[in-house]
Symmetry: C2
């Protein structure tokens, strides 16, 4: 048995949410806990109410809508993503995953389908991490990865706290920000944010896990001096060492695992004048790979190369790790459910590892988890020009819906 | 015949000026046309008056003190430098050249020595170019390299103009900012700002010219994208190209002329985030060499390397020249006078090319020119820790004084 989502209603819902904080260039500017976020939350609450869901908002603003199951022993299947966006981001991103979850419960209602397991749709607070850090804040608090008081106290660039914004927009709820039911599994639909599905001509991605991350920064300490009067043999130029290092970050990324990516995205030069030899340069590294060993190895090589670059220039250096995230491997049960759903819809799918992090990461220690990816045209993400055709949106939503349906009916 | 400067009076004058805008760390913070600059100008005016000089201040604030010669046909010998400093700079820099010129006329007065040529001491306005650009502004206006109205209108970071500051501190004078006499030659004493004299164990430098400069900037245009989800083969990373380019700037500098220096001192990365592939990176180049051909060649190689770096990364790039200054070669007559003065004082000297630019550059097309360098300990310049021993200051001042004396007596 399969569920058949209402394509027109689904696309209309996507368009409706896209208008809330929509930009002239066809993107979305809907920062976490902004007025636009309040508006889209109000809309989402109305939709959940209209669908007869039993709703709650937790103390961190995470929004849940519950559709009961028939088996009192069966754990809840959680499905959703996030409605906030990056500054001038795209209209699909996480919103697609929330709208698809909503369309699933509407379809089940229309068809009078009962499921053994309860199904909960969810909109997580502040996935993007652009206005308030860290990313995946709401799901992290809910799953117990972060302390709620600490996260409430986080402020944006204007010094405004998460807690005060939650209260201002009326989304500091009464429910505890923690799993208040017995959860069995969770699925999330998100756009790929990379080009693989399109490159391979696929309709949908069966995500098998999320890459691990090593982030850090290296600082080189040279000697600032007059760029005209200091002969080359007397120089200790922090930028020359940094350039050397940046070149090696690229090389390490391309000579590690098949799927390793590596970036030196941030460079700060002091004093940064055309006429002065750079004294202090900080460069970040960031590596991602599905395999924790590959990431650890890339980090080690990076530090060796930083040491070598500093030694060649005869200068001091130091480093700091900024983030280490282990790769996530989704449960076979959920991956199989997604694969089966794609197959049953006769969609051309591929197994894929996620290069970006997602809310579902936090649920992984608490329940079985899985993900569906929609095609991202040209791999563009976090930009107004992000694009997924309605055909590809629907394919991914159908895959999600049928996978959730499968998990919620099979004992 | 030689003149013998009064060492104690000379050192006392150096210490007195160093107290005006002196910093706790023993440096000097005396920005052009600041209150401190007014104070040191007032002091300098008093000293010139006390020495019986015929003084004038021109419309751009350049200060002159004239000691008449005996031969009405003989052109003026101009000697001096500048009293302004970099932010938190050193106490020697150009001030040494002004105080040495003052001490020369005092000594000539004490000894009742008449010279055939008039001698003029000078303090140029805004040599440093840190508060108002460009550097060497006063000497440039005086020599006709810049239009006075344009330079008057230049503003500092607070929007305050040169003209209003000249008026505020009372140093917009009545004299035309142009050569109002017949000038025969000019000499300038300045600290070396590099390590060569100290490295070779010399007492004083006989400067034979000033290096030429090529300054410019290259911008690489990559494609900004998610650093996790974009595979390596799909990247167009502007920072990878820029790192490549910076490495080549170092290589070109070390494989051009014997004395070529080259620096990539400024780097701007957009959007400059650990999590985003760099989209746009601007890097400056700066080359200096005594030989114009070597500079032109270094610039050409730099642009070839920029093109190659951009092509390897598959991205666009563009460049802009920011400054091109031809090398200056001082006249044999002035270089010989400086060399003769060093020899007559039994000082161990060496011929040296200046790596920094100096006010005298602007006088070069109008008259014979030459320079004396004082030792810069460890080559430090434009920093509070700049240091020249009083012994080395006096050696350089004696060399300057005797060279000027030589030029002003020989027909």
């Amino acid at each position: 048995m399969a569920v058949s989502l209402d394509r027109e209603r689904f696309v209309t819902a996507m368009q409706t949410q896209a208008d809330i904080g929509g930009t002239d260039a066809g993107g979305l500017h809907r920062l976490a806990l902004s007025d636009e976020d309040k508006q889209v939350r109000d809309w989402f609450q109305e939709q959940m109410d209209a669908a007869g869901l039993e709703t709650r908002v937790d103390e961190f603003g995470n929004m849940f809508g519950r559709r009961p199951g028939t088996d009192p022993e069966a754990g809840t299947i959680l499905v959703g993503s996030h409605l906030d966006s990056q500054p001038y981001g795209g209209i699909y991103d996480g919103a697609l995953g929330v709208v698809a979850a909503l369309e699933l419960v509407r379809t089940l209602n229309d068809e009078d389908i009962e499921t053994a397991h309860p199904i909960e749709v969810v909109n997580w607070t502040n996935e993007e991490g652009s206005r308030f850090q860290p990313a995946m804040q709401g799901s992290g608090v809910w799953a117990g990865a972060h302390d709620i008081e600490t996260e409430w106290a986080k402020t944006d660039d204007d010094g405004v706290s998460v807690k005060s914004e939650l209260e201002r927009i009326g989304y500091r709820g009464d429910a505890p920000a923690e799993p208040t039911h017995d959860y069995d599994a969770a699925l999330e639909l998100h756009v790929e944010q990379g080009p693989y599905l399109e490159e391979k001509g696929k309709d949908v991605g069966v995500v098998t896990g999320i890459v691990g991350i090593s982030w850090g920064e290296v600082t080189f300490y040279g000697e600032s001096n007059h760029s005209g009067a200091t002969p080359m043999h007397r120089r200790s130029d922090a930028m020359v060492a940094a350039a050397d290092f940046i070149t090696q970050v690229r090389r390490i990324a391309t000579t590690s695992g098949d799927d390793t990516v590596g970036t030196a995205g941030y460079v700060d030069v002091q004093p940064n004048s055309i006429n002065i030899i750079p004294e202090e340069v900080t460069v970040t590294w960031g590596f991602r790979d599905p395999d924790a060993t590959v990431i650890a190895d890339a980090r080690d090589r990076t530090l060796e190369e930083a040491a070598a670059a500093a030694e060649r220039e005869g200068i001091e250096w130091e480093f700091e790790d900024r983030m280490d995230v282990d790769p996530v491997h989704f449960s076979d049960r959920c991956v199989d459910a997604v694969q089966g759903a794609a197959d049953s819809q006769e969609l051309d799918s591929m197994r894929i590892f996620s290069g970006g992090v997602h809310d579902i990461q936090h649920a992984t220690d608490l329940m079985d988890t899985g993900m569906v990816f929609a095609v991202s045209e040209d791999g563009k993400s976090h930009t107004e020009s992000e694009f997924t055709s309605w055909e590809d949106c629907y394919s991914a939503a159908s895959t999600l819906g049928n996978a959730v349906f499968d998990l919620s009916t099979v004992e």
